[in-house]
């Protein structure tokens, strides 16, 4: 008998009493009608609690914010699907501006190139205000999972319309089969005396730009 057959047989035998599970009571909150303004406020608060930096701006202000966040950077990674409009700022276009490195599944940057990049800028799929969680699902404006991991500074764009209040609302918007990363603040550890320390292996700096009119 193969291991598969034997394990399935063991389990079937273990359930010889034919247990019947009760229906799952779903009395927990699954939807919320919180206003966008409140969602922005809550998400900002939660992210700040995780020691992430948050800017809240209209889309016209994004290039200026990006220019500020990337000041001093040598280079930054951008997934191929992220529109160039966000970088329409003199400080990001002039000679001597940080180099913009495009990453694409068909033409990926090497791990060494990612490691040398100062920062990465990505979009996001959906965010949960209540827990301060930003979900990336690998669509073209978000890119491969590694690009938001290896550079030490992650700038993440969050349209206000993609913010939900609670986790069930976010899960309903996601396709479970996509490779996903849920991010709640910068990398952290609580392994020494249960004291939270921000910054271990993932990006030690997380900046979030909430775009109010998107």
């Amino acid at each position: 008998m193969s291991a598969r057959e034997e394990i399935l047989a063991r389990i079937t035998g273990a359930l010889a009493d034919s247990p019947v599970a009760r229906p799952v009571p779903r009395g927990y909150l699954r939807a919320s009608d919180t206003s966008t303004a409140r969602l922005i406020e809550l998400l900002t608060d939660r992210l700040a609690d995780y020691k992430a930096h948050v800017d809240v701006v209209a889309s016209a202000g994004v290039p200026g914010i990006l220019a500020g966040l990337l000041a001093g950077a040598e280079s930054y990674v951008v997934p191929s699907g992220l529109p160039d409009d966000w970088f329409a700022h003199p400080a990001l276009e002039a000679d001597g501006a940080p180099r913009r490195l495009r990453d694409d599944v068909s033409c990926p940057l090497s791990v060494a190139e990612l490691d040398r990049a100062s920062a990465v800028i990505t979009a996001s799929a959906v965010s949960v205000a209540e827990s301060g969680t930003i979900m990336l699902d690998g669509s073209p404006a978000q890119g491969r999972r590694v690009i938001s991991l290896v550079p030490d500074h992650h700038v993440c764009l969050v349209p206000a319309s993609s913010i939900v209040h609670i986790l069930p609302e976010a899960v309903a918007r996601l396709d479970g089969t996509r490779a996903m990363t849920w991010i709640s603040g910068p990398s952290a550890t609580s392994d020494i005396e249960l004291e939270r320390v921000e910054g271990v292996h993932g990006p030690r700096r997380l900046d979030v730009i909430i775009i109010t009119d998107k």
Binding site: A3, I7, L8, D17, A21, P168, I192
Partner: protein, 503 residues
């Protein structure tokens, strides 16, 4: 489709690996109790996380409803496990993953070794995983000439310190910051000799040490927090980013998951990702959660494996009273609130699974008849704090009592000479199964009064009872029992006139 098995169902197959005590719990516990540094570290850490957990749990108005849902979802997983496993396998395989089944620790280790060999790699990076601890994977790989590098900070502390994990979530909970610094200074290649005991600096040292490993590793080994049957998705919950490094950078990813870790649908994550981080680290959400379904083209490992592990889980499932122990999502809330764990730490429990959940899970997986583990169900005062804290409402005290019953019955079957405890229980059965018997016995109370003497305290008793009087007095018994007083002296008291006009 599952096959229909004709004839006798297979006997429960108990697990092997790091699931056993090597000495009885009371002896191990007494030794650990003597370590003052350990006790102060544990107290600090468990109280810190307890407070954090209470704070974030209180934020959710629907916490009890989430627990109810979590408990019921896990119950449905157990009831439907064969079909869910097959569904998971079909979905994971359809998306390019490969599924392997392992009856026990040895088989899992052999499968993994072969998979690593096939890549030609001599070393692997690892994400913290209870399942691989349980099967003793690192030790096995070492004998096969493959070096395994733990990348979680706490696991790294334990590995560099040639130590064993003592907690599910924070394996180095028994070490304080100064001890961690000393381990790093002594054991971490290339460490900054000016390292201080500042946790941020210690985390920084781990980052530099592991960076090149992550960027060059070809094979990673992980556990999984959840497997979603309907989509074939695996989930790993972590904080540091070491998990993401392992799950996305190498070419080959091998995940080891117990067969009980399934959830039926992707939507069920909305319950478990609310329950787990809050119960575990006391955070609203852990910094990183990674989800993958087989292979994702152009993103992450392209050679993806899953080892489904039984190793005693089917035996635990066969115990109708005990099977809900398999609902455990390894959050560790039970150990953080347990007064026994707080004083002994995890090593006293022997197994990979310490604390209250370990005291039921380990004997369920190895069989209570295993001499090594029959002291574990007694490692509790049955105070019930674990049940209150459990996010999936595992009634740990009830299962402890159930396992004690199985232990007593199994020793009865072995016809050993009765222990002092057996005799005490037999005597008490006689006394407590009749008011007349107890009344007769109570006629002897004046004798006890005599024994107590003028101090009106009994300070020493013989035999088993000496374990009581080693640290506690017993007051002199009364001259007569209540029963006697009632029969001879009770005169009903007149009712008082109530004031205030309340009921």
């Amino acid at each position: 489709m599952s096959k229909v098995f004709i004839g006798m169902p297979p006997l429960p197959a108990f697990g092997s690996g790091n699931l056993n005590l090597t000495e009885p719990f009371p002896r191990a516990a007494a030794r650990e109790l003597g370590n003052q540094q350990l006790r102060s570290n544990l107290r600090h850490a468990t109280h810190t996380i307890r407070d954090k957990r209470l704070k974030v749990v209180a934020e959710l108005p629907d916490w009890e409803e989430l627990r109810d849902a979590g408990s019921a979802i896990k119950e449905s997983v157990m009831a439907d496990l064969p079909a869910l496993l097959e569904r998971f396998e079909a979905n994971f395989t359809a998306r390019g993953g490969k599924v392997h089944w392992a009856r026990d620790a040895a088989e899992a280790n052999a499968i993994i070794t072969e998979l690593v060999r096939a890549t030609g790699a001599q070393e692997v990076v690892k994400v913290k995983s209870m399942a691989t601890q349980e099967i003793g994977l690192n030790e096995h790989l070492e004998t096969e000439g493959i070096a395994a590098f733990e990348t979680d900070l706490a696991e790294l502390i334990v590995q560099l310190g040639h130590d064993k994990p003592s907690h599910i979530l924070v394996p180095a909970i028994h070490k304080n910051r100064t001890q961690v610094r000393d381990i790093f200074l002594a054991e971490m290649p290339g460490v900054d000799p000016d390292l201080t005991n500042d946790p941020a600096m210690l985390a920084g040292a781990a980052r530099s040490y592991l960076r090149s490993k992550f960027l060059t590793a070809r094979v990673a080994i992980s556990g999984a927090n959840f497997g979603i049957a309907d989509s074939g998705t695996l989930a790993v919950v972590e904080s540091e980013g070491n998990g993401r490094m392992c799950l996305t950078l190498p070419e080959t990813l091998i995940t080891v998951m117990g067969i009980e870790k399934l959830l039926p649908t992707f939507a069920d994550l909305e319950v478990f990702m609310a329950l787990l981080p809050r119960s575990s680290t006391g955070e609203r959400m852990n910094p990183y959660t990674s989800l993958w379904t087989g292979v994702t083209a152009g993103d992450g490992p392209q050679d993806v494996h899953l080892v489904l592990l039984d190793n005693g889980r089917s035996a635990a499932l066969a115990d109708e009273m005990g099977r809900s122990a398999l609902h455990c999502i390894r959050c560790s809330a039970c150990m953080n609130v347990c007064p026994v764990y707080e004083r002994t730490g995890g090593h006293a429990y022997g197994s990979t699974y310490p604390g209250p959940i370990g005291a039921i899970l380990s004997p369920l997986m190895t069989g209570i008849e295993a001499e090594e583990n029959n002291s574990l169900p007694y490692a509790s005062s049955l105070c019930g704090a674990c049940f209150d804290a459990c996010p999936v409402k595992i009634n740990i005290p009830e299962i402890l009592v159930h396992l004690r019953g199985k232990d007593v019955d199994s020793r009865r079957g072995r016809m050993k000479p009765p222990s002092q405890m057996d005799l005490l229980m037999k005597g008490a059965q006689w006394a407590f199964s009749s008011g007349t018997h107890l009344g007769l016995l109570e006629k002897g109370l004046p004798l006890g009064r005599l024994a107590a003497g003028r101090s009106k305290k009994i300070k020493h008793l013989p035999g088993l009872a000496a374990r009581w009087t080693d640290s506690r007095d017993i007051p002199a018994p009364p001259p007569a029992s209540f029963r006697d007083w009632w029969a001879k002296e009770h005169v009903p008291e007149a009712p008082i006139t109530q004031q205030g006009g309340e009921a």
